[in-house]
């Protein structure tokens, strides 16, 4: 009797204990990975060690290599970007030429779209459609059915398409020039999946944001001409402010400096759209959305490989990649530029995705 009683007690106790997710103890119980912050880590080029990190800002917990943890295999070479829509995450792995789709509840892989050439960014356009930019010379926008995980159509755009931005039924594509030069933005009507217009802008547009007045801010890296492996020509970088209704340039703001031909790299905007941020070789800079000149002094000094602005708190997430043979760092700053904390992430962190 005593023995049976002990067993019963033990069984009852075990039944009352909260269940443990042994495979993933850091996964939020209710929401999976549908809320939080993702950091895409490129990895070292050719080393196949790109990854995604998941950060919970409430618990200040970071889970690195989350894809490997859940799926038992590596993501691949050069994780370029990630976007989210509903319960799905879309991870673009550039040098593995694929788009990996995951279930954000579990981060399990739902499927792969491969056969790509030089994929860069994916933008969900609707619940079952998205656009994928691809190409390091002549560019292509692939129309992707996100239910079937298939490419259903393709559009020609400019050289080296990079970021995509949605404005109502329009999708704007920054044609960064790839390994050449370009100075256009392709405008796609997402209702018909056709190119509606092509806008002229500064040389090599690479990133775009909309401010609080619905003006389009375009980061243009400047023209770069190589003769063999020697830099033959470089023009200045600029931020172009464009009327998104007409495509005409409102004003052009010079930024950057001669000799920084891999910079500036990315743009950000505050939650109310009043402040624009951009990344240069000296650090993170900011400017008012009404400004016509750039400041000389950065808000945050340092060498960052990427950054993001939290749309809820306006915290600045800086990404440091001191080397491509060891992990990088996420450094969080308050809107005034004071460091809050730093957390280790994967190799070559380049982008922050807020969900």
């Amino acid at each position: 009797m005593k023995r049976i009683s002990s067993v019963v007690c033990l069984s009852v106790l075990l039944a009352l204990l909260p269940s443990c997710d042994k495979d993933n103890p850091d996964k939020p119980a209710d929401t999976g990975y549908r809320h939080g912050v993702f950091i895409t880590n490129e990895g070292g080029f050719g080393n196949s060690n790109g990854s995604v990190s998941y950060f919970d800002p409430d618990s200040i917990k970071m889970v690195n290599h989350i894809f490997e943890l859940i799926n038992g295999r590596s993501l691949g070479d050069v994780v370029q970007s990630m976007s989210v829509h509903g319960n799905k995450g879309f991870i673009v792995v550039n040098n593995s030429q694929k788009l990996e789709v995951v279930d954000l509840n579990t981060f399990e892989s739902l499927g792969i779209i491969d056969g790509l050439s030089y994929p860069r960014f994916f933008l969900p356009v609707s619940d079952n459609k998205g656009y994928l930019s691809d190409g390091n010379f002549s560019g292509t926008i692939y129309v992707v059915d996100t239910d079937l995980l298939q490419i259903t159509d393709s559009l020609q755009c400019g050289f080296g398409p990079e970021h995509l931005l949605r404005y109502g039924n329009l999708v704007l594509v920054a044609n960064s020039g790839g390994w050449g030069n370009d100075s256009t933005i392709t405008v796609i009507d997402s209702r018909s999946d056709e190119v509606a217009w092509t806008w002229q802008t500064g040389y090599n547009p690479t990133d775009m944001v909309l401010d609080g007045k619905d003006n389009l801010w375009v980061l243009c890296k400047g023209k770069i001409v190589w003769e063999g492996w020697t830099l033959a020509e470089e023009t200045g970088s600029s931020i172009e402010v464009i009327d998104v209704q007409t495509g005409s340039t409102i004003r052009s703001i010079p930024v950057g400096m001669t000799g920084d031909y891999f910079w500036p790299m990315s743009l950000g905007v505050s939650s109310d759209g009043s402040t624009i941020y951009y990344l240069e070789s000296g650090g993170v800079y900011q400017m008012d959305c009404n400004a016509s000149t750039a400041l000389d002094v950065p808000l945050i000094q340092g060498i960052f490989y990427g950054f993001g602005i939290d749309p809820e708190t306006d915290l600045i997430y800086g990404l440091s990649a001191p080397t491509f043979t060891a992990n990088g760092w996420l450094l969080r700053y308050d809107p005034a530029g004071s460091l809050i904390d730093s957390i280790e992430v994967g190799i070559g962190p380049n982008r922050v995705v807020f969900n």
Binding site: N49, R73, S74, S96, Y118, W229, T230, N327
Partner: protein, 654 residues
């Protein structure tokens, strides 16, 4: 990647060791001789007995004829090799936990490391173009010059003054369309000897592998990994009287190699590299009982062309090329002042040039060195002091020194070796002048090292020989050059400070009676290569450099009866990290490899024919030497070599 059951391997290995004995040739020898070895005028070889070294000679001609140096080293030593895939893939060596640019490769005493990268691709060197391979661990900079933190590999050509006419022809066919062939010819008399050897090889390398980066690890075939290579070498030895010897040599080689992508990517472009190399030298030696003079001059040129062809659309083909020339001239003179005292002095001069699309203009450099040395030996004790001063480098280099001592106990047969020295590596042309990012202000890498070795060799009354050696060492490398991101692009900086330390052990047992031969050899090394640039670590081994395993073990059993020979080789490579911070998600699993070979030789009155069947990676182990680059699985090779007017014993003459 599946893991090999270590227990199964251990059982197999013990069983194999019990069953296999003997070696078809007594080719390899552990170099702890009682007397100094003189390899005909090679200054760099005359000090072999003062350092931990290994010499492979006969085995190059019998077991590995036509194989590249990478294959020989992988199967005959436990040195740390990294290779990017199949036959002819880029292969580099990391001796004693250092980098590939820290091992000096010499051809008849002349460094053939690339002036641009500081390394040489071991798959470019064919073993049939050398009569002996000397492996020397941790060579002092005062003796050998730049780039010797890890050690040195010396390829030696030797004359056979008794030879009149001899030649050999060989061919090999293997898995995945591999084909190799070559020939060698020798003629002369006691006053002159001429040697010529050539080879050609084609290997498609389309081997199957499991892709660990895709769901369900699908089986795929390796693509874009094809190799074609060919080479020709000639050597002429002339005796002028009894005092003068002239040795002239030439070596021309071509390689066309497709460069495969990592497993995780599909080729967006097809990469290809072509290498052309031409090397000629002349050495003059004068010998008397009291004096040795050596004068060497050489001219080496290397060209590398790299091309990328897009797979889809984009007709643009990108290519780049680099051409280098290296002209070393040296003179050394040694006097045997008394029976016990030796002094030596000399000078070297070098001219390097490089042109290519990665440099703004032709690079041209001149540098030289002055060296002196003194040695004393008596009653089985020998000690030496060497000094070298480098001139014209502007890299902050100070005087180099080495102090060596060796003692052999006649009573016990035990030899003790010790060496304290500093070593250096001059920055390469790429590190200083590459566009963009090259840093002309780089300092030389320098560091002090120490070796302590003990060995015991015994020949018993029965024809049984046994040799045991144990060497402990440490080697500092300061100002280690590393390419780091500097904002806009990457640049090399003197950032690292590394302490390499470890133990090397070697056991060999050989028995030969007539035509029956049995041999066993085991080599084990424990290597720590600790990066002290990292400020915060939990334990010492958290500092271990990437791609340096703590444990390396190699064991070979050989057995021969009459014309039949069999060899079984086992190799264990321990876990390696692929990142500086040892991310466990990115490390490389340890792996076990077993190779087997059986052969039979038919002996004729004028020579012999040897047929061999070789299986590499007998248990089809899936492993990576470099992350995401799969190595070949099990493969089979059938080879035949015919030697006219030669026997195996001919190759045993030194």
């Amino acid at each position: 990647m599946h893991r090999i059951n270590s227990f199964i391997f251990a059982r197999f290995f013990l069983l194999a060791a019990a069953l296999t004995t003997g070696i078809g040739s007594r080719g390899q020898s552990v170099d702890f001789p009682l007397q100094e070895i003189r390899i005909m005028g090679l200054r760099k070889s005359e000090r072999l007995s003062e350092m931990h070294s290994l010499t492979l000679d006969t085995i190059l001609k019998t077991k590995y004829y036509g194989d590249d140096l990478a294959s020989v080293i992988k199967r005959e030593t436990n040195l740390n090799i990294t290779q990017y895939g199949g036959q002819g893939s880029l292969t580099s060596i990391r001796m004693r936990g250092t980098s590939p640019s820290h091992t000096q490769i010499n051809w008849n005493g002349i460094p053939i490391n690339s002036p641009t990268t500081g390394i040489i691709d071991l798959s470019l060197v064919s073993s049939n173009l050398a009569d002996a391979l000397e492996i020397i661990y941790g060579v002092p900079g005062s003796l050998f010059g730049s780039g010797t933190f890890g050690g040195s590999l010396n390829l030696i050509n030797k004359p056979d003054w008794d030879n009149k006419v001899s030649f050999n022809v060989y061919t090999e066919l293997g898995s995945w369309g591999h084909a190799r062939g070559g020939a060698g010819f020798r003629t002369g008399n006691r006053w002159w000897q001429y040697q010529a050897a050539g080879f050609a090889q084609t290997s498609p390398n389309n081997y199957p592998y499991r892709n660990a980066f895709k769901p369900e690890n699908p089986r795929e075939l390796r693509e874009n990994d094809t190799l074609f290579t060919a080479g020709l070498q000639q050597n002429l030895f002339i005796r002028l009287g009894n005092k003068w010897i002239i040795h002239s040599g030439s070596w021309f080689q071509y390689r066309d190699k497709d460069l495969p992508n990592a497993m995780s990517s599909r080729p967006r472009w097809l990469s290809n590299q072509q290498d052309y190399s031409g090397r000629i030298f002349t050495r003059l030696n004068r010998y008397t009982s009291k004096h040795t003079l050596e004068i060497t001059c050489a001219w080496l040129t290397d060209s590398l062309y790299y091309q990328e062809t897009p797979v889809q659309e984009d007709p643009l083909v990108r290519w780049s090329g680099i051409q280098t020339t290296y002209l070393p001239v040296g003179i050394s003179s040694r006097w045997n002042v008394t029976q016990n005292i030796r002094i030596e002095g000399g000078t070297d001069f070098e001219r390097l040039t490089a042109t290519g699309s990665s440099f703004t203009a032709q690079i041209e450099e001149y540098r030289g060195s002055l060296f002196v040395s003194g040695g004393f030996g008596k009653n089985n004790f020998f000690a030496s002091l060497d000094l070298r001063e480098i001139i014209g480098t502007k890299t902050g280099l100070k005087t180099l020194y080495s102090i060596n001592a060796r003692y052999r106990s006649k009573k016990t047969g035990i030899t003790f070796l010790t060496m304290v020295s500093n070593k250096f590596r001059l920055p390469t042309i790429n590190e200083r002048y590459w566009i963009p990012g090259g840093n002309p202000e780089l300092l030389a890498e320098t560091g002090t090292g120490c070796d302590l070795g003990i060995s015991w060799a015994k020949s018993f009354n029965i024809p049984l020989q046994t040799e045991i050696s144990l060497t402990a060492y440490f080697q500092d490398v300061n100002n280690w050059i590393q390419w780091v991101p500097t904002g806009t692009y990457w640049s090399p900086l003197n950032v690292r400070k590394v302490r390499a330390q470890g133990i090397e052990s070697d056991l060999s047992v050989r028995y030969s009676a007539g035509m029956n031969r049995v041999a066993f050899r085991a080599m084990y090394s424990y290597t720590e290569s600790l990066d002290f640039t990292q400020p915060e670590v939990v334990s010492r081994l958290d500092r271990q450099l990437p791609y340096v395993p703590l444990h390396l073990l190699q064991a070979t059993g050989s057995f021969g009866v009459s014309g039949f020979e069999s060899n079984l080789t086992y190799r264990f490579t321990g876990r390696r990290f692929s990142t500086d911070d040892h991310d466990p998600w990115l490390d490389l699993n340890p792996y076990h490899l077993v190779d087997a070979q059986v052969s039979y030789k038919f002996v004729f009155s004028t020579g012999l024919l040897k047929l061999s069947f070789t299986v590499l990676n007998l248990f089809n182990c899936s492993y990576e030497m470099v992350r995401a680059y799969p190595s070949p699985g099990i493969s089979f090779y059938l080879s035949a070599i015919y030697m006219f007017n030669q026997t195996l014993q001919d190759h045993e003459k030194d």
